[in-house]
Structure formats: C-alpha cells, structure tokens
Amino acid sequence: MARAVSIRRKSITTAAAWALGLMMFFPILWIAILSLKTEGDAIRAPIEVLSSVWTFESFGAVQERSDYLKHFTNSVVISFGSTFLGLLIAVPAAWAMAFVPGKRTKDVLMWMLSTKMLPPVGVLVPIYLIFRDAELLDTRIGLVFVLMMINLPIIIWMLYTYFREIPGEILEAARMDGASLREEVFFVLMPMAIPGMASTVLLNVILAWNEAFWTLNLTAADAAPLTAFIASYSSPEGLFYAKLSAASIMAIAPILIMGWFSQKQLVRGLTFGAVK
C-alpha cells in the first residue's frame, strides 16, 4: 500500500520540483527565446527582451551562412554509425564477459575503461598523421571509426552489466534445444536485453553527437558535423547573441527532442545493471 500523502505535502514537493526543473532548463529556454529576437533586442535586459518583437531572421541568417542540412546529416551518420558499429563489436564481447567470466574479466573491463583516459589533445598529431596516410581525413567513415573506438568501452560496460542480469539458465536452455551460439546471442539474448541495448544506444548517440574535439579536428568540409557548424559562431561578430542562439538551438534540438522522446528507455537502461 502506498503511503497516504497529504495534498499539502504533494503541493510543496510539486512546487519545489518544478522550480528546480525550470531552473535547470532555463538556459535552454533562454537561448530559444533569444534565437527568435533581433540582434539588437537580444542584448537588452530580460524584461525588454521578452516584450520585443519575435522574428525568425536569425535562423535565416544562420542558414544563409552554413548548410545546416549537410552538417545535420553528417551528425546523424556519424553518431548512429559509430554507435551501431560499436554495438556490433560490443555485444559478443559483453556476452563473453557476462556469461563466461574468467578470473581476469574484471581487469579486462577496467583496462577497457582506462583506454578512455587517453587525452585526445595529446594524440591528435599521431592520429592526424595516420588519417592523412590512410586517406581518412574529412571522411565520415574515419569519424565513425574514431568515435566508435572512443565510446566502445562505455558500450561494452553498459551491455555487460545489463547482460549479467539475464539469468544464464535461459541461454543454457536455448543451447539444450540445439540453438547455435549465433542464434543464442541474436534470438535469445538480444531480445531480452532490448531495454538495456536501447539505453546504451541512446547514451552513446548523445555522447557521439556532442563530441567536439575529433569531429572538429579531423574534418574540413565534407564530413563536418554540427559541432563544426557551431564553431563558426563561437566568437562574436558584432552583435551575435541571436545568431549564436539560433545556431545553438539548431545544433542541440535534434538530440534534445530524441532524448525527450526516449527518456523512458534511457532511464530504464541507465542503471549500469549494478545500480538497481
């Protein structure tokens, strides 16, 4: 039986939680507002900003300067591509670690995570030279590969902790019934792990979408995603608040909307298995 909660208490928590939510969200809301203002109005005091005219001109100005659709497409290809490629490699690895653990499994996992600690700025020149000679500079496939490598440890870890919650007996039963290893993984394990896989995909798409070092440094024009798009607005060119806001909204809106629609899945799997 749920504890009876007084209306008064519920009102107070509701008010506090809403205040908190709005506070956290306010910066995003504010750039959304500024993006719909003229440059001149965007730097006024908040009250004056709200009472000024609304306009879409900044979005027009941004679109005139940079090809949003191209950057958007690149972002989608790179973030989803790297995540799915990562999944392809991570699922078998996570299966092996979760269902056939050895003495060193935990060490291997920790070692994998530690590869994430390589500071990107320190290895840019080596990677740049490799990319140059492998002709991967400014290609989507090159970025897909790099971002896949960067996020692979997180993907493996998330899947591993999730797989561990699935009782091994079920897989065993499938094996008894004559399922091959491939069938076992693809038709028994993966369907059961869908919530966990969904949140793994979501988290990694978000991380890849927002990755701003490699995507900026290894691209020029063809493969440049939205992080490069925003880099051309990062310093003021005269009055620039409205244009910066519009560009920012354009860069974060797709992932924000995706995040909102899928937040239930995200939360469900964000347990890293062990948390629950």
Binding site: K10, A45, F99, T115, L129, L226, V275
Partner: protein
C-alpha cells in the same frame, strides 16, 4: 558450467573488441611515446622522415635523427603552468563531483516524491545533459556570465548592484559551475533510478521503528545508493579528467593559468605552440596520472562494483 567449448567461443567473441582497443591504445600511444622523445615542432620541420609500412603507401612520421632524450619531459614538467594545471585538474574534477553527487542526491530525493507532472519535471531536469559542451560553454559565457550584456549583469544592475565579472574574478568556479550544470542531470538520473528500486517496505519498517527522516536517509537510503554513487563518480571522472571544450570557448585557460587543466596545457604545447614533442611528453604524463587516479578510484570504491 562453462564448458571448454564455450570458453573458446568466449575468447573468440571478446577478441575483436580487445584487439581493436589494443590497437587504438597502442598505435597512438606508441607514436605518442615515440614523439615524446623527439625534437618535433610542427612549424619547424627538420626534414627527417621515415616511413612505417602500413596502409599501403606507408605512414610517414619524423625520423629518429631528432632524438632528444628526456628533454621534452624536462621542459613539460618545468613549465611554469604545470603545477597549476595539476591542481586545477584535481579541483575541477573534485569540485564537479562534489556538486553533482550532493546535488544529484538531493534532486533525486526530491524527484522521487509524489508530485504532479513528474514526467515533465524529469524532462526539464535532464535536458542539460543533451547540450553540446561547446554550446553550453558559449551560452553560459555570453548570455549569462557576460558582465555587460549577460542576464546576471542585467539582474545585478536591476538590483542596483555591481555586475560580477565571473571569468576574471572566479574563473575556475565558473567553469565548475558550467560543467556541473551539464553533469547534474546524469547524476540525478542514475541516483533516481537507484532510489526508485529501493524497497518501500524497508523504509516503512524503519519509519515504524521510529527512525526520523535523517536516520532513514543515512541508514537506509545512503547504503542503497552507494553503488549508484560509485558509478556516477567513475563515469564522470573519466569524462571530467579531459574537460576541454568548455575551457576553450570560455577562458582559454586563463586569466593567467587559473583555468588551465592538464588537457588544456597539452593543447597549448602541441596545438598552440605546435611543439608536438613536448605535447606528447605531456600526453604520456597525463596518461600516467590518469591511471594513478583510476587505480586509486578502484581501490577506494571498486569493491562497490562487485556484484
């Protein structure tokens, strides 16, 4: 019940991941270590090149003629900014962890209460996590913390106060604030999930026994949250050690070295001074330090991850 057969299969299945990560780690790391012993400045090429036979037509890198011994390490460690960078890195990671763990716990406790519109509130709270680091740095710097046109300045003037100049008076704290804003949602989410899985009966039992709110929190909830907190600390540390974009777009590591962390210092050496040799030495040092932190973390909290 792991048979010999499935062990072999397991090894086979884990090997692509291990091999790839091994290459990913060893090739750049190997080159970084190699470069760290060379006199290698991008804008002052010595002309010595050698070719390593990979990728069809080979990988061209500077030749070993420019060997410089431990010089790069010496210069990096004696860089006047080095000490500040180490301290700033630790303060930045520590500060953000402190804010996000405490804040995240409080947020989670609040959001766990019954309320109207819980779904929407949760959406609002997690939104900052989806924002690109570059964008959040730019937005906070310009629209909020700018001492002339920022919203805080307008508020201060409205209240008759002097606008506070965030990035020159409290640069590191401002960066910590921005980064915390991005990571609070993550901590909140993980902790909230953990909290929701807490057995209500256990709490009610504690309440029956006369435990007050504080006792219930410290003796029932907190132990239950321990593992979630560990996960938050671990994941965030991995990301926070290499915070870069937020610093680049706001303070450029300054004023002075007030916001230069280790990652930024390496960036300065290798991509502003183009001294790849010294930058690589910095990279090697950063990896060693990161691994020390990692081992330390594992020892401290790793046992929480056993399950």
């Amino acid at each position: 019940m792991a048979t010999q057969h499935s062990r072999a299969a397991a090894r086979l299945m884990i090997s692509p991941a291990v091999l790839l990560l091994l290459c990913w780690m060893l090739i750049p790391l190997g080159l970084t270590i190699y470069f760290s012993f060379l006199r290698f400045n991008l804008i002052m090429p010595s002309g010595n090149e050698m070719v390593i036979g990979v990728f069809g037509h080979g990988l061209r890198v500077p030749g070993p003629e420019d060997f410089s011994g431990w010089e790069n390490f010496y210069w990096f460690v004696t860089d006047p900014s080095f000490q500040a960078a180490i301290i700033n890195t630790l303060v930045l990671v520590g500060g953000v962890l402190f804010i996000t763990v405490i804040g995240g716990t409080l947020f989670a406790l609040l959001l766990d209460q019954p309320m109207w519109g819980q779904g929407i509130v949760r959406i609002l709270v997690i939104a900052p996590f989806f924002v690109m680091p570059t964008v959040s740095g730019l937005v906070w710097k310009n629209m909020f913390m700018n001492p002339v046109n920022g919203i805080f300045a307008h508020l201060a003037i409205g209240l008759g106060l002097e606008p506070f100049d965030f990035f020159s008076q409290a640069p590191l704290a401002s960066i910590i604030w921005i980064v915390s804003w991005q990571w609070l949602p993550f901590a909140t989410l993980i902790l909230l999930t953990a909290l929701q899985s807490l057995d209500q009966e256990q709490l009610e039992a504690a309440e029956m026994d006369g435990a007050n709110w504080i006792n219930r929190f410290f003796f029932v909830m907190l132990p239950h949250l321990a593992r979630a907190i560990t996960v938050v600390i671990l994941i965030q540390t991995i990301f926070l050690l290499s915070i870069f974009a937020e610093i680049l777009v706001t303070t450029n590591g300054g004023p002075g070295t007030a916001t230069t962390n280790l990652t930024y210092l390496i960036y300065v050496s290798s991509l502003l001074q183009f001294d790849v040799g010294m930058g690589s030495a910095g990279g090697v040092i950063a990896i060693i330090l990161a691994n020390i932190v990692a081992i330390f973390l594992m020892r401290m909290i790793g046992k929480n991850l056993d399950a």
